[in-house]
């Protein structure tokens, strides 16, 4: 036990003496939260739009006011000719054009039905979809403000509620993603580098010849990074609560429990990498290419997994962070309890057991 303590102390020396890495480890989550929170956001605000209003009546005015009062749109011009639309798109001045026909008010009055044309610049399909959604919602909102005065039979008015994230903010999506990314990076990359460093320096041989048990080497290597990860986790949560106004709705205990499990998963991956690589550089490359990329791409926080081709969807199942991401979203954003995440937890647990067993076996074979 005392030997273990000696070893852990040594590991902390390594961690604290390497100021640059330490700074990176703590700076990274902060930078990522701030970047994703304020710079890289899926929300599109203040898009310039063109409105061609042929109706020029009270109803069209109301609709235009509604559109311009939302902070999604900024009206570039509102009494333009439809011939100007294409030119404006080509010049890149506008992202969306809305045409209100001449008979707008009459159609509403007499036929209970009116048309509005929405034209979007689909050269960026995501933005086009998002903007048309915003516009459709606003128009629907205007429509429902009319309907109480009208008695129209058989009309179905969808009442849309955006659960858990009514303002459609980006933070609920990326905070869990950043958590997965940071934990993965710290645990997988740093542990594998820390172990491979001993091999590269030749000190691993000495440790193996000593009575110190190889399993203890692993445990002592893991402890400092486990601690760093927990600190990182706390930093991310504090930032998300106080800077991004994203409270933790579910149980903090459950959140930390699941995170600890995920940290273990990442540590075992780091171990496997450390057994198959011999230099710090290749360990770093293996962690970056093997873990960072799949984590970023296949977890679902950047690109929805559901839209991916089937082979990629299948592949995403073996990416541990995908399951961790679901757990965190459920607990943190939706405030659900363990009953909602037991399946994902079980999958993660199974992965950890397999990975840990594999890495321990590999570790013994390779080094001893």
């Amino acid at each position: 036990m005392k030997q273990l303590f000696t070893f852990v102390k040594k590991e902390f020396y390594h961690v604290f003496r390497d100021r640059k890495t330490l700074l990176m480890l703590f700076g990274m989550p902060i930078a990522q939260i701030i970047l994703f929170g304020f710079a890289l956001t899926n929300e599109i605000k203040g898009s310039k739009i063109l409105i061609v209003d042929y109706a020029k009546d009270a109803a069209s005015q109301q609709l235009i006011t509604k559109l311009s009062s939302s902070n999604y749109f900024e009206i570039e011009k509102s009494f333009a000719d439809h011939n100007q639309i294409e030119a404006a798109f080509k010049e890149g001045k506008i992202k969306l054009a809305i045409i209100i026909p001449q008979s707008f008010y009459d159609d509403i009055q007499h036929f209970n039905k009116a048309q509005v044309q929405v034209i979007a610049d689909a050269s960026d399909p995501n933005m086009a979809t998002t903007l048309t959604n915003y516009a459709t919602n606003i128009i629907a909102g205007y429509q429902s403000s009319l309907s109480p005065t009208k008695k129209i039979p058989y009309r179905i008015v969808p009442q849309i509620r955006m659960l858990y994230n009514p303002e459609l903010k980006g933070a609920p999506n990326f905070v869990p993603g950043v958590m997965a990314l940071v934990l993965m990076l710290v645990c997988t990359m740093m542990t594998s580098i820390a172990i491979v460093r001993e091999k590269e320096m030749g000190t691993m041989e000495i440790l193996l010849v000593s009575p110190f048990k190889p399993v203890f080497v692993i445990i002592s290597k893991a402890i400092p990074y486990l601690l760093l990860s927990v600190i990182n986790l706390i930093i991310i949560l504090l930032l998300s609560v106080f800077v991004l106004d994203l409270p933790v709705k579910g149980s903090i205990l459950l959140l930390f429990g699941a995170s600890t499990l995920f940290i273990l998963t990442s540590l075992s991956i780091g171990l496997i990498i450390s057994t198959v690589t011999t230099s710090q550089q290749s360990a770093m490359m293996a962690s970056a290419m093997g873990m960072m990329l799949p984590t970023m791409l296949l977890t679902g926080f950047m690109f929805p997994v559901e839209n991916m081709p089937v082979p990629l969807q299948v592949l995403s199942n073996i990416v541990p962070s995908r399951w961790y991401y679901i757990i965190i979203k459920n607990v943190m954003i939706k405030g659900l309890g363990f009953s909602a995440i037991w399946k994902e937890t079980l999958i993660l647990f199974g992965m950890t057991v397999i990975l840990l067993g594999l890495s321990l076996k590999n570790f013994k074979n390779r080094l001893a």
């Binding site: 005392k2 030997q3 000696t6 070893f7 102390k9 040594k10 020396y13 390594h14 003496r17 390497d18 320096m201 030749g202 000190t203 041989e205 000495i206 440790l207 193996l208 010849v209 000593s210 009575p211 110190f212 001893a368």
Partner: protein, 247 residues
């Protein structure tokens, strides 16, 4: 004569069809400096790993410090020291931290560690460098420190795997003073080297060729046996017959 510290009898290690170590038998005694020579790929490292309890032999018998290599590799580890050409100190730790770490993982008590590290620092004349990071020590000092750390737990045997690689002759000579000092205190020194002048410093030498021990004896007796004027000649004479190429 005293009980042998290392005793092997027809020790064999096979990797598939490849016989890395082929029926080696030898004994070493307390306080002896035993030179373990051989070209690259002759099987020195594999033999050493078996003696350190790192890999199990395919067949044959061996005891190290009185313990069987098959049954008690952990006991062996407690009784041996090891130093390789890559040194074995942590560059980002200070002199004291390195000493305490290695003493610590061998399970020495706190008081013992304090005493030992003070004695060691005095012996090496490192009083002014205790808080210096090992990275900034000169190579010769690092090497001496590494050796002293390797025997801090007073092992019966210390294995030195090409300990003086890349070091100038003066520093090498000083390093050998430390080795003699340890041997005088009864530690068996098992050393591999490529420097034939160092081979002359050993009490007894074995020369491995293609996994076998082809010659063994004191430097003087070997030179006489092969009617050579230096260990260099003896080594070339034997190594020429090797069929295995160096890896």
């Amino acid at each position: 004569m005293a009980e042998p510290v290392i005793k092997t009898n027809k020790l064999i290690k096979r990797f598939g069809n490849f016989v890395a170590v082929n029926e080696i038998s030898f004994e070493t005694y307390p306080g002896e400096i035993f030179g373990f020579l051989g070209a690259n790929g002759a099987g020195k490292t594999t033999a050493m790993r078996m003696l350190c309890g790192l890999s199990a032999p395919t067949s044959g018998n061996a005891t190290v410090a009185g313990f069987d290599v098959y049954k008690y590799p952990e006991k062996i580890k407690q009784n041996i020291g090891y130093m390789s050409q890559k040194f074995s100190l942590y560059e980002d730790l200070t002199v004291t931290e390195n000493i305490r770490f290695y003493a610590g993982i061998y399970g020495l008590g706190n008081n013992e560690i304090k005493e030992k590290s003070a004695a060691l620092i005095n012996q090496l004349g490192l009083q002014n460098e205790v808080k210096t990071l090992v990275a900034s020590l000169p190579l010769g000092w690092k090497q001496k420190l590494a050796f002293s750390v390797a025997i801090i737990h007073q092992p019966k045997i210390v294995f030195l795997d090409e300990p003086t690689g890349g070091v100038d002759p003066v520093t090498r000579r000083q390093f050998w003073d430390l080795i003699y000092d340890a041997a005088d205190k009864g530690v068996t020194v098992f050393v591999t080297t490529h420097y034939m002048d160092e081979a002359e410093y050993c009490n007894r030498i074995s020369i491995m060729v293609d996994g076998r021990i082809d010659a063994m004896g004191t430097p003087a007796s070997l030179k006489k046996q092969f009617s050579a004027s230096s260990m260099d000649e003896v080594f070339y004479h034997l190594a020429r017959s090797a069929k295995r190429s160096a890896d």
